[in-house]
Symmetry: C2
Subunit: 155 residues, 2 copies
DNA sequence: GGAAAAATGTTCAATGCTGAACAATAAAGT
DNA sequence: ACTTTATTGTTCAGCATTGAACATTTTTCC
């Protein structure tokens, strides 16, 4: 009868979203434990995977893909560079930008880490059938689209 | 033909999960902006909502619900206490535990914040029909169950 | 061509979160 | 009863993240 339920946790959408947030948090923690042996944390892994996929990307582009600030990259990338996992080369045409790429060691480590990550995701979503995964993905696409629109309108 | 795709991002489950993680990150950022006017951030909001719902909870129980460490509560709760939003009273029977509750001001602020939060979620999931939300929620329940089992087995 | 605006990366102070070590209290084992 | 173990909350050092201020370089606009 009452469309505006008394409490947020009675709203179906609210409850759904709480589940999403909770699952994300737990997955993040599980992932952190899973890759601890490789001496990297999830922010490093996100960086490495993106460099694996998009070789020669700039710091700015990387930050945008990861939805973090530029300053964050300025803090993390030198660490990975010192460990010999990535290389930062100045761009030939634009003297402001640094082009990022994985070293041999970086590619090896990333391959190992991605295997672990994929394994964890497969195991965690094993109970969720493929078509259900697809439906979830579609729902998330919609949500991402709306959130990005909101962001653009405000900022 | 090839069951083990060459790259993680070709796995359907992997792609699905990336979407979930991305949506969560964007939602978190949008929520942070949405409640900035109330001078609280999402960790504070999570605390306040749980106190609104579970009056008299202990710090330990709260930390467990929020999936964070006890030390985190020890840092954040005194802030909220100083702002007069919550009260911490020693338990009568067990001298170790502190029982948490919202003050009048805390309840008011929490009500406002929950209205904003619910509004944002409703708007963001508006494109996602109710039955689809339910399916997503079910999928997340499965995922949460598996992750919690993994956690218990390891730790 | 030259001034104004924008883009890129860096630095810094502030804050959040964690895990480990700790003190106080309670519960279990003997 | 007494020793041992577990639980609760606190403190602290370490790291991640942010936003603002900054220097350098590029683009835009007149």
């Amino acid at each position: 009868m009452n469309e505006n339920q008394a409490f947020p946790w009675d709203h179906p959408r609210f409850r759904s979203w709480i589940g999403v947030a909770r699952a994300c948090q737990l997955m993040q923690q599980a992932m952190t434990r899973a890759i601890a042996d490789l001496d990297i944390k999830t922010p490093h892994l996100d960086i490495l995977i993106n460099l694996y996929r998009f070789d020669g990307i700039s710091q700015q582009e990387l930050a945008r893909k990861l939805l973090v600030g530029r300053s964050n990259m300025s803090m993390l990338l030198p660490q990975l560079e010192k460990r010999g996992l990535i290389a930062r080369r100045p761009d030939a045409k634009d003297k402001r930008v640094l082009r990022l790429s994985l070293t041999e060691a970086g590619r090896d480590l990333t391959a190992k880490a991605m295997a672990i990550q994929t394994g964890l995701i497969e195991r965690t979503l094993s109970k969720t059938p493929a078509d259900r995964c697809l439906q979830v993905a579609e729902a998330m696409e919609d949500i991402i689209g709306i959130l990005q629109t909101m962001e653009d309108d405000e900022g």
